[in-house]
């Protein structure tokens, strides 16, 4: 990581601490924001957060490793989570999964080499009457068909421009 990035991260975390406080209950909201902005929670970020909250970094790591939406490993700009639970399974999630793998050239659990997409399984997304369902970051897609996969990925690519990214970050942190 570049020194300037370290500085930026430290500044962001300080800002989050001033918003959420230094209490233990602030830990998860802070981790969620760091995850959102940096697409993962690096060991350096965990150390900085631990220092700010005056807890051991292992405490931070134990929380990060517990939750499916917090990740120590870098994820893509777009995290695609396909629901694999029973109703979406019966509605044909296997074919959608196959097409996602085909169009992205990666398997579930992997990130594309350009760091744009991460493909993951999700457990029940609560869209059981409209399956197969998937999330792209926070956005939900329902009744997805294999041929729609391409268009969903294209939509992501269209929003992934330097301008769109800057606007997104301003909005979130």
């Amino acid at each position: 990581m570049l020194v300037s990035e370290h500085v930026r991260l430290a500044k962001d975390i300080e800002e989050l601490v001033s918003r959420y406080g230094r209490g233990r209950e602030a830990l998860i909201p802070i981790l969620q924001e760091v995850q959102r902005k940096y697409a993962h929670i690096s060991s350096h970020a965990m150390q900085v957060i631990a220092d700010q909250l005056d807890i051991h970094p292992v405490e931070v790591h134990s929380v990060v490793s517990f939750y499916a939406f917090l990740n120590a490993r870098a994820q893509g700009r777009f995290v695609i989570r396909l629901c694999r639970t029973i109703s979406c399974d019966m509605a044909g999630k296997d074919r959608v999964a196959r097409q996602l793998e085909n169009d992205l050239g990666i398997k579930f659990g992997e990130t594309t080499p350009d760091s744009k997409f991460t493909l993951e399984w999700a457990n029940c997304l609560g869209m059981c009457d409209q399956g197969p369902a998937l999330l792209v970051n926070d956005q939900v897609y329902t009744a997805v068909t294999p041929e729609q996969v391409h268009e969903i990925l294209e939509q992501c690519r269209r929003t992934f421009s330097p301008h769109a990214l800057a606007a997104q970050e301003q909005h979130h942190v």
């Binding site: 209950e25 602030a26 517990f66 939750y67 499916a68 029973i86 109703s87 609560g126 009457d129 956005q139």
Partner: protein
């Protein structure tokens, strides 16, 4: 995404803030008495009497108390809370405020599952609107001495956080590992303070009861399972979605309403619920017969029940928090057993061993996740043994 709403819901007939106004016109003990008299039981599935819970927290002596709304709707096949959060948020917040008044809390926390992050902007806007209308904040509706506000906290993708003590651990910034109970949250909850943890639907019904009275609620449903209930219906039926039915409805009646008459089985209560085969469709959905949080998954004649079971067991292996041994190891063993059945290589003796293991997990697991995770295994093995044994693929 289209609305999941099917048919008429009571929630859309209740006048805005009628419940809150009626609640604040009563004393706290009268209000809790009203909720108790209605017979309302927890709509998340456990069915604990809401009035008892409120009374315990209400009579606890503490300066700080909390109302926590459990919006960590993670049970497979359940999506009725999503509908309430998206379409009846005011009623839900009204219910939380009524709960706050009843137990003497100043703060409410809505624990929203990470998968529902897209609902958050709408919920925040509703909260802001309510603050401006003096329905939240200092002196709610001008009532001296009743300050109450609500904050939204996000989950991060952990099914076990739907268990109330795991949820509290998560709110406090820890891994979502369930605590031993007792002590119960009503005396040792969030930050060690008396806390009521209620499901989204329970709180919405509490607001309806405050508005329409206990007698109205009590005369719907059965003696032990009062009131209407939302059902999340999915799977092999022609009209999936969210329905309101009185508790005590039979499986057959429900299937007729949703266009699933040809089902060979129904999973009631999600992955942690039980599989009900066609010969038992005359049974009722009520706490005294088949208890449920409202998840109904319909299986048509063509469905392979082993594939269904495998899906459930994979879910539990993934979602077990790993804290206690029966759940962490037991679910893995049950899944391995399903894989043996898939290959057609499971002896009857071993299958019976696995069933005994399942019964041990029900007894020995620390929380509801491990106690209920063997339920689909046991019920599907019992009802569909001839479909499972001796497969040759």
């Amino acid at each position: 995404m289209i609305s999941s709403r099917k048919g008429n819901l009571t929630f859309s007939t209740v006048a805005p803030e009628a419940g809150l106004k009626a609640a604040l016109a009563r004393s706290r003990s009268e209000l809790i008495g009203e909720i108790s008299a209605s017979g309302l039981r927890g709509r998340g599935g456990a069915g604990f009497p809401t009035g008892v819970k409120w009374n315990l927290a209400g009579s606890a002596r503490s300066g700080d108390k909390y109302v926590v709304c459990n919006a960590d709707e993670g049970e497979p096949g359940t999506f009725k809370d999503r509908l309430i959060l998206a379409e009846f948020a005011d009623l839900l917040f009204e219910g939380m405020t009524i709960g706050g008044y009843a137990i003497g809390a100043r703060k409410g926390l809505l624990y929203l599952r990470g998968e529902y992050t897209y609902l958050r902007p709408g919920l925040e806007a509703t909260l802001e609107k309510r603050r401006k209308a003096k329905l939240l904040g200092k002196k709610v509706l001008g009532m001296e001495g009743f300050d109450f506000d609500i904050e939204i906290r996000m989950g991060s993708g952990a099914y076990v956080c739907g268990e109330e003590t795991a949820l509290i651990e998560s709110l406090e910034g820890h891994r979502g590992e369930p605590r031993n109970r007792p002590p119960f949250p009503v005396d040792t909850g969030f930050e060690g303070r008396p806390t009521i943890v209620n499901n989204v639907e329970t709180l919405a019904w509490a607001a309806c009861i405050a508005a329409k009275g206990a007698a109205w609620f009590k005369k719907i449903g059965t003696e032990k399972s009062a009131g209407p209930k939302l059902f999340s219906v999915s799977g092999d039926c022609s009209r999936p979605g969210v329905y309101e039915f009185p508790l005590g409805i039979t499986v057959a009646q429900l299937l007729k309403e949703v266009g699933g008459e040809k089902a060979k089985a129904v999973q009631v209560g999600g992955a942690s619920g039980r599989c009900v085969p066609a010969p038992q469709f005359a049974r009722t959905l009520a706490f005294e017969d088949i208890p449920t949080g409202g998840s109904i998954i319909v299986f048509g004649a063509q469905r392979d029940m082993l594939r269904v079971l495998k899906n459930f067991m994979e879910f539990f292996v993934d979602e077990s928090c790993g804290q206690c041994t029966p759940c962490r190891e037991g679910n893995v063993k049950l899944l391995e057993g399903v894989e043996l059945l898939e290959k057609g290589r499971c002896s009857m003796a071993y299958l019976q061993d696995l069933c005994r293991l399942g019964e041990t997990m029900q007894l020995a697991s620390k929380c509801g996740l491990g106690q209920s995770s063997p339920t689909p295994f046991l019920s599907i093995v019992q009802c569909f043994q001839d479909e499972l044994m001796g497969r040759t693929n």
